[in-house]
């Protein structure tokens, strides 16, 4: 058996290029060329970037799309790296967990604009180079992607079945091997779903991450986001149309080439087939599996990774336990004391910083703004639920329709609110509408789809027996909704509503101030306050606004959504 060491791909199939190979070949190399072109722009100087303004020429969109896509991918890789380290630390060390998990909770509620001040830091990192601005943009996209991925991974790590963990320990897998062989595969399905949600989040805030304005510093990186920003500034409807088309193509490419294959392969990672679960299909995955070329490349890669695991596996083998001192209670208390002291120090510093500029009365006003936005979010979530729950149930019960609707909803979730500015702003100006009411729908634009997604999933998971029993007993009409459909989708609905509510808070910044050319429409609310303070470069007010927003979101989660979720779980679980 001389061939044992060769990758399986070489052993099992004859290397005869087929149709799948040609397609794979073309795609692989087009990808490389785009990457090379897009990366080329990274090293240029900032002055030259500012000398070549963004062009509204549709052909420029090819290059812009590539650069935007590359940023997205890099941010996604950074998010994965963050997820693998941060969440693992949370799950493995109780001492880290007590502080890192709440921290993540807050980070998740901080809107992307809260991080836009970091651009100054990144620009100083590489003076006069584009790389700094690129890093800033990637970082901003990262902040709209990373947190929920980390949460999902942390949650998965904590829910690995005991016996599997014990098996890994019994067979003395090193931590490194355990991570790649047990923990990552186990977390994969949930992580992939969250990556998709994150990607949509990244698109939604694309304009903010590419056309960055902080006080007097303005950078417009070539990309679809900057293109949209310019199109809005110049009131070019045609350009908006082209931008939508470009986004559609890129999102479709991501979906077909990245997420579909990932979803389809994630089915392998599921422990058992769940009820109502239909395996995903992906032509791209089929291509990867059928094409000998791609399989050769990927198995070669797997082989390298595999080989790389080994040395670590040996030295990392189950070492001795840490000394008792390290595990002692006293050290715990010492650690908590340190954390509390740091906390007090931080609160002191923030208070001192904010109050140096802001009057107490203004804090009261910001809280009031928060309440206004709260009312807006609540009303919108309620309205969206009234619309999407019945539709979601209807769709979910029809698998064919669901397979069409789901990708569409996914695309719509990624749609930046800015693209609707022309319609909404024009309508408000022409019809003399109240911005406080009519700007609000923009908030829920991207997030309502999470309600729809989840309700569809919930409805398709209703056991056929339950449906038949309902029909058999003649349960119809409102009674059917009350006794069968709504209870069955409730836990799923709550999951969707939590995502939608959190997203809407963040989107308020994108929605409470809308501009179309020189026309700017403004609603009262916390989002507008934060957007304005960022544009003015007013750091103190920005911090204040974001703090209030985070506090509101986290409080709402703790006091309303989490208990509701726990109740839904308890009440509607069968076993």
């Amino acid at each position: 058996m001389r061939f044992e060491r060769l990758p399986i791909a070489v052993l099992r199939t004859r290397y005869v290029p087929g149709g799948w190979d040609l397609l794979a070949f073309a795609l692989v190399f087009v990808f490389f060329i785009y990457c090379a072109q897009a990366a080329h722009g990274l090293t240029g100087s900032l002055a030259r970037l500012q000398a070549t303004p963004i062009s509204l020429d549709p052909t420029a969109l090819f290059g812009y799309s590539a650069r935007t896509a590359l940023r997205m991918v890099l941010a996604m890789l950074a998010s994965l790296l963050f997820t693998f380290t941060y969440a693992t630390l949370c799950a493995k060390s109780h001492r880290a967990e007590v502080i890192l998990v709440p921290l993540l909770d807050f980070l998740q509620s901080v809107p992307i604009l809260g991080f836009s001040f970091t651009i100054l830091f990144f620009l100083q990192l590489t003076p006069g180079r584009v790389a700094g601005a690129e890093l800033a943009a990637i970082f901003l996209i990262f902040t709209s992607q990373a947190w929920n991925m980390a949460f999902s991974f942390y949650h998965s790590l904590r829910s690995i079945p005991d016996e599997m963990v014990e098996a890994a320990r019994n067979f003395q897998l090193s931590p490194w091997m355990r991570f790649w062989r047990l923990e990552v595969p186990f977390a994969m399905p949930a992580l992939i779903w969250n990556m998709m949600v994150s990607m949509s989040g990244g698109w939604f805030f694309l304009v903010f991450s590419e056309a960055i304005t902080v006080g007097h510093t303005t950078v417009s990186l070539p990309g679809v986001g900057s293109y949209i920003a310019l199109a809005i500034e110049q009131k070019s409807l045609a350009a908006i149309g082209w931008a939508i088309a470009a986004m559609f193509v890129v999102i479709l490419a991501f979906d077909q080439l990245l997420f579909r294959p990932l979803m389809a392969s994630a089915d392998w990672f599921r422990l058992e087939q769940e009820a109502g679960f239909t395996p995903s299909h992906s032509w791209a995955l089929t291509m990867m599996r059928r094409s000998s070329l791609l399989r050769f490349l990927s198995s070669g890669f797997a082989y390298l990774l595999h080989a790389g695991v080994k040395p670590v596996a040996v030295w990392g083998a189950a070492g001795p336990r840490p000394p008792a001192v390290w595990r002692s209670r006293r050290l715990d208390y010492a650690w908590y004391t340190v954390l509390i002291l740091i906390g007090i120090g931080a609160v002191w510093k923030i208070a001192w910083f904010v109050l140096s500029e802001v009057q107490l009365a203004e804090i009261g006003r910001v809280l009031l703004y928060g309440l206004i936005t709260l009312v807006r979010v609540s009303v919108l979530i309620a309205l969206a639920s009234l619309v999407w729950v019945p539709i979601g149930v209807w769709v979910g019960l029809r698998p064919r329709v669901a397979s069409v609707v789901q990708p569409i909803a996914q695309f719509l979730a990624a749609f930046p609110a800015n693209l609707f500015f022309p319609i909404v702003v024009s309508a408000i100006v022409i019809l003399k509408l109240t911005p406080d009411i009519w700007l609000s729908p923009l908030m829920i634009l991207g997030t309502q789809w999470y309600i729809l997604f989840n309700v569809i999933v919930g409805a398709s998971a209703i056991a056929p027996d339950l449906r038949y029993a309902g029909e058999n007993l003649g349960v119809r009409g409102w009674l059917w909704w009350r006794r069968v459909a709504l209870p069955a989708v409730f836990p799923f609905y709550v999951t969707g509503a939590i995502t939608a509510s959190g997203g809407s808070w963040n989107a308020s910044i994108n929605a409470e101030v809308a501009a179309w050319g020189t026309e700017t429409v403004r609603a009262h609310g916390l989002g507008a306050y934060i957007a304005d303070s960022t544009a003015a470069g007013d750091f103190q007010r920005n911090v204040l606004g974001i703090m209030v927003l985070s506090l509101l979101v986290v409080t709402l989660n703790r006091l309303f959504w989490r208990p509701l979720y726990a109740r839904a779980e308890r009440k509607f679980r069968i076993s």
Partner: protein, 441 residues
């Protein structure tokens, strides 16, 4: 005690000395799960740990595997204390614990990979193990494609391939159907008897008495709350042991007798006190009222007419030990039956129950529940005394936690809720988490 000693001249592979395990409860008291367990495992032996759930036998197995550490006492493997998973001890799990994203071959290779065995060697040994355990041809299958029996074969191959001295089995056949379990057990015993397995000894945790008698050279019987070894039975019958063989039957009977014997040294508080610890702190194992009525009906019907041999009734009713013993004990607690010497005998009340219609049965059950189960009496008293006739679950939960661990308290309350509902003695609203006297009309 009747320990067989086929290999007494050999040094033990494993020496468990005075192992205890206890947890500290929130109020500072100790909760003892394992009490002074001693055990020696010698080469060539299959030793069974037999007991009900809650007897700490799985905890002991995990301590031996180095997955858990004793509160006191020591587990010695080849003369060294086990503090972390040791190389020569491999485990087979109840739920198989295969990695669904790895093929059969990759699953089997896992332990060797962790040891850094060279690729050629690894492949050779894995294929050997797969061959030996009857998985030939399934190397590239994923666990999801296999039946339960085949999955557990992968579990065995994965443990065997590392050539351990000891294999620990945690109820390895209990997730399989009867026929599959029988086949797998038979195959394993054949390989073991022919000396084809690269292992020296086996430690088996089970609650299936027949399985224990068929497989083991020595049995340790555990009591529950706290778990300790109450007796040891040596088995010298040759393999294969058929359950119809009278000598095997006699042994099974004997194990039942040992398992229903009252723990030694227990204080009897009255002539009718046959149940340990009858305060409200008694842990109640959940048994559905369906099983209780079913058991009473079976025992009262001919040919038993009110008195039955436990193994016989277990087989007839298809009850596992894990269900039979709690059910028998519940009937004993309710004074509907008495259990001793491997027999179950209905009391007069039990016979009356068997004769009654649904309503009479419920009334009788309610009377006995309130009279003989202190926790039920306590709940009823509290509800009667309160003007609102309702009380939150947490009130009783906190009280129970003074006596038992959190999950035991949870289980006890679940049991009392289910019995109380059947007896219509009180109602419970899970939504409001509260007991009340009102029954929905």
């Amino acid at each position: 005690m009747n320990a067989v000693a086929p290999m007494l001249n050999l040094a033990p592979l494993l020496d468990v000395q005075d192992v205890c395990k206890s947890f500290r409860k929130p109020d500072g008291d100790e909760l003892v799960v394992l009490e002074k367990v001693n055990l020696k495992l010698r080469p060539g032996e299959i030793v069974g740990l037999l007991g009900r759930s809650g007897s700490g036998k799985s905890t002991l197995l995990r301590q031996i595997a180095g997955l858990d550490t004793p509160s006191s006492g020591v587990v010695n493997y080849l003369g060294h204390a086990v503090l972390a998973p040791a190389s020569g001890i491999a485990m087979v799990f109840q739920s198989f614990a295969l990695f669904p994203w790895l093929t059969v071959l990759e699953n089997v290779q896992l332990g060797l990979e962790a040891q850094g065995v060279a690729e050629d060697e690894m492949r050779k040994r894995s294929l050997q193990a797969i061959d030996l355990i009857g998985l030939d041809g399934f190397e590239s299958a994923y666990p999801r494609e296999l039946s339960g029996g085949m999955r557990q074969r992968v579990g065995f191959a994965r443990a065997l391939v590392v050539h351990p001295n000891i294999i620990l089995m945690d109820e390895p056949f209990s997730a399989l159907d009867v026929l599959t379990a029988e086949t797998l057990r038979g195959d394993f015993l054949n390989l073991w008897g022919e000396g084809q397995l690269p292992i020296k000894a086996v430690l088996l945790v089970t609650h299936n008495i027949e399985e224990a008698v068929q497989m083991c050279d020595r049995l340790l019987i555990f009591s529950s709350n706290p778990g300790r070894v109450i007796s040891e039975i040596g088995i010298e019958l040759p393999q294969p042991r058929h359950t119809q063989d009278p000598r095997v039957r006699a042994l099974i009977d004997r194990v039942y007798v040992e398992m229903t014997a009252r723990p030694r040294g227990e204080v009897r508080t009255g002539p009718k006190e046959r149940f340990p610890g009858t305060g409200i702190g008694t842990v109640l194992t959940h048994v559905s009222s369906n099983v209780l009525t079913g058991l009473i009906e079976a025992v009262s019907a001919p040919p038993y007419n009110g008195k039955a041999d436990l193994p016989v009734i277990a087989e007839e009713q298809h009850l596992e030990v894990d269900e039979l013993f709690p059910a028998a004990e519940a009937l004993q607690l309710l004074r509907l039956a008495e259990v001793e010497g491997g027999d179950i005998r209905l009391t007069d009340a039990g016979r009356e129950f068997a004769r009654g219609e649904t309503d009479e049965r419920k009334k009788l059950f309610a009377r006995h529940l309130i009279t003989y189960v202190p926790l039920a009496a306590h709940i009823r008293r509290v509800l009667d005394e309160r003007a609102s006739h309702s009380a939150p679950k947490s009130r009783f939960f906190d009280e129970l936690e003074d006596y038992m661990a959190e999950d035991a308290a949870e289980q006890t309350l679940r049991t009392i809720v289910s019995w109380g509902r059947y007896a219509e003695a009180f109602a419970y609203d899970d939504h409001a988490q509260a007991f009340s006297l009102e029954n929905p009309a």
